[in-house]
Structures are given as structure tokens and as C-alpha cells.
Homo-oligomer: 162 residues x 2
């Protein structure tokens, strides 16, 4: 997908530079996808191994991730434009709202993939299910919500749970 | 959860201020949870209605979201510390890596919840399943990956799909 040129019907809006909060890249993602053309449209859990390479200072933050089969991975789509309200994915002039698409073009180009955890090797986590470019900056890893139970004691607000 | 004080065994690391990328808040989240004590540990799809209030400029970006029953919502946990590698959720000295927890304390405090879409009303989207504070800054809305099919034509990299 070309994030630079507008397609028929698409309209960019004018915005001040974004600066409401700031991110820290915690590592890089290694994938077999060297160019946009190589990237699949959606990752597959039986796809190729990819590696989340954490900066060494964050290596210990993976302790315990082996208990989970799946995780949510957040990353930064640093080549995406951020000013489209509606997009035309088929380039046919038919428009969809940016928040009704999983396109990389969005006001905050944060990619999100649910991945299968294959194995951990120190500060490296091998996973399957990504579709992003090799070298993509890594933002966060969260254990899968479905298999995750909060570790802290229950709160009054949770009591409705049966 | 108190994000300010360290619990037994927890250790903070020293880091430069984060500035690898910058975010734009696209609106605010309205929830019935006015304080930390009010927030449930995990949102529930049969929980109370919450409202994603988009800045008017982004209202049209919701067009088409009604087609989806579920969506991923990303938001900014602006009160969280960002320098813990390992945490002790039970305050008992037993440590878990930050990336093996869904705690709000993480290097990039981006909250992620899968919500049920209830209805859209212009630039407002009513959803269920959130557990965040009233007023939390909104970052992104993505249609649920499971029910989402890419709109664009298939690519060579997808051909393996049966």
C-alpha cells in the first residue's frame, strides 16, 4: 500500500504536529518481509517465525511470557501518513472511515497483531502472525487477554462477576 | 493500583525521556469510573455503556464501524509510570516481567481493550467492555481482526491461504 499518494475520493485534513504524548521504542521486529510488496495483508499463526528483539535493558520484562500461547504486539508504522479521515482501499472512489479499517494509515499509526508465542531466547521472543516490515519499531507486548487473569486481588467493582 | 510507589522487589530503571515518536489524542473516553477504586480489573462486554467521544474533525472516520460487533480500542494511560522491568502485582515480592502482565505500568502505557460496539451517534461511539478512568485520552479504534477482511485486492504473499 502506498501511503503517500491520495486515491480517488480520499481527502487529507490539515493538522498541527502531534505532541500529546511521546513513545519510546523498546526494540525492533525482525520479519522476512523486506518490502511492502513482501508483506501479507494479514499475519497468519502458521506463518513464518518473526523475532521481537528487545533492547537489552527490557529483556527481564519478558519473564513469565512463556506461560502464554498468544500475545498482543504493538508496533509503530513509521512510514504511514496520519491525516486521512476516509480512505478508499480498493482505489475505486468508495470511501470507508479510517476507524472502520485496519489500514496502517491512521492518526496514530500503531500496528496491533495477535501473535502465537513460539519461544523466548533471552531478550528475543520468537512469534508467528506478524505482517509488518523487517525493522519495524516495537512498542509493547501484552499477554493475551482471553487467557490472562489479573494477578492482583479482586476489587469491589469486579464482584458482579459470576 | 498505585503507579507511584514501588512494591517489595520492584526495581525502576533509569531512562532518557522518551521521544522516538509522538502521539495525537483523537478524543476522550467517557466511563462511569471516576477514580482508580471504581475501575474494574478487566472490562466486561455486559458492563456499563461507555462513550468514545472523538474530536469533531475525526467524526467521519467512524463511517462503516456499524458493520462490526467488536472493535479494538487503544488509549493512553497518562498516569502510569514507565520505568519498571518487573512488577509485583500481589505486593508479595514475587516478580513478573512487565510484558507478561497487562498492568498499566509499562514503557509505553497504551491501554488495549476489545469492546462490543453498541451504537454510533455522529462523532460518538457507544461501547461496552472498558475498564479505564473517565476522561482517558483516546488513541485509535480498529475493527475486530477476526471479523475483518482486508478490502484491498489480495497480494502474492497471501496466496498460501487456502
Amino acid at each position: 500500500m502506498d501511503d503517500t499518494d491520495l486515491r480517488p475520493g480520499e481527502r487529507a485534513i490539515e493538522l498541527d504536529p502531534p505532541d500529546d504524548a511521546r513513545l519510546r521504542f523498546i526494540g525492533r521486529i525482525r520479519t522476512p518481509f523486506a518490502s511492502r510488496a513482501d508483506c501479507p495483508r494479514q499475519g497468519r499463526h502458521d506463518g513464518p517465525d518473526c523475532v521481537l528483539e528487545l533492547d537489552p535493558v527490557w529483556g527481564g520484562a519478558l519473564d513469565g511470557i512463556e506461560r502464554f500461547d498468544f500475545a498482543d504486539v504493538l508496533y509503530w508504522l513509521d512510514r504511514s501518513r496520519r491525516d486521512l479521515v476516509q480512505q478508499s482501499p480498493k482505489s475505486d472512489g468508495a470511501l470507508r472511515g479510517t476507524f472502520a479499517l485496519r489500514s496502517p494509515v491512521r492518526p496514530n499509526p500503531i500496528g496491533l497483531s495477535r501473535v502465537r508465542v513460539v519461544r523466548r531466547d533471552g531478550p528475543r521472543l520468537v512469534v508467528r502472525g506478524l505482517d509488518c516490515l523487517d525493522g519495524t519499531p516495537l512498542l509493547d507486548i501484552k499477554p493475551d487477554a482471553c487467557s490472562y487473569s489479573p494477578e492482583a486481588p479482586r476489587k469491589a467493582a469486579d464482584v458482579a462477576e459470576s
